[in-house]
Symmetry: C2
Subunit: 135 residues, 2 copies
């Protein structure tokens, strides 16, 4: 009757990788962690499933890649509310920032469903590296 989802080992593995990560991951990152243990299609399918279940955020980077991150601080129900993410232009790391995002009012007639904000810049590590080089 109801198509119940199964909690398989592959799903657990993907979830572990996500929760161990301190930043959002793209497929390439998963590939490194998995070293051929899992098929590309499976990884994408699982991640898509997690997104549908509302336990993972999907982040479109300006580099054309899609990043995935565990939804850590979202209260149940407001998963679809505004997200704020940061991407370091040097080390390419993407991470979720738990600050409420203030979305300005839209022109008349526009109805917002979701908002998503990506700030790019330098993360502390890379910024220090650059500062040290310039000395």
């Amino acid at each position: 009757m109801d198509k119940r989802k199964r909690n398989t080992k592959t799903k657990q593995l993907i979830k572990t990788i996500l929760s161990d990560a301190s930043s959002a991951l793209c497929y390439e990152d998963f590939e490194k962690h998995l070293s051929g243990k899992m098929d590309k299609a499976t990884v994408y399918r699982i991640l898509q499933g997690f997104c549908e279940d509302g336990i993972v955020h999907k982040i479109a980077g300006e580099n054309g890649k899609t990043y995935y991150a565990l939804c850590r601080h979202c209260q149940t129900g407001n998963h679809n509310d505004s997200h704020l993410h940061f991407r370091c232009v040097k080390c390419q790391t993407v991470l979720c920032i738990d600050e409420p995002l203030v979305v300005p009012s839209l022109p008349l007639g526009y109805k917002m469903i979701d908002a998503y904000c990506l700030v790019s810049g330098h993360c502390p590590d890379c910024f220090n590296e650059i500062a040290n080089h310039e000395q």
Copy 2:
């Protein structure tokens, strides 16, 4: 000595398409307007050039496509400042919204270069269509 850029007919055509458009365009949209008159690689190269010159915004849609829009209201010099874009989940239209975006403060040590915000929802036309259907 200096590699000066040339103002070719193809560039002019792309610019015309951009300035005639009321919303941001993806490659597919250009293709329709061009109907085989120009090669894919050329279109991408020209758009990339415009982005480097700071006269076009590049917008990463959550659908994996990249959208391009003329930078209309940006003062010279602040082209890289915060952008706010809206994407209709029904008709897929993407457009720039000229509202200042309030970016919340980042955690200590993070240095912002650029911020980019994409609000998704229904545009007025699609919203009305849905409302009329529900009557």
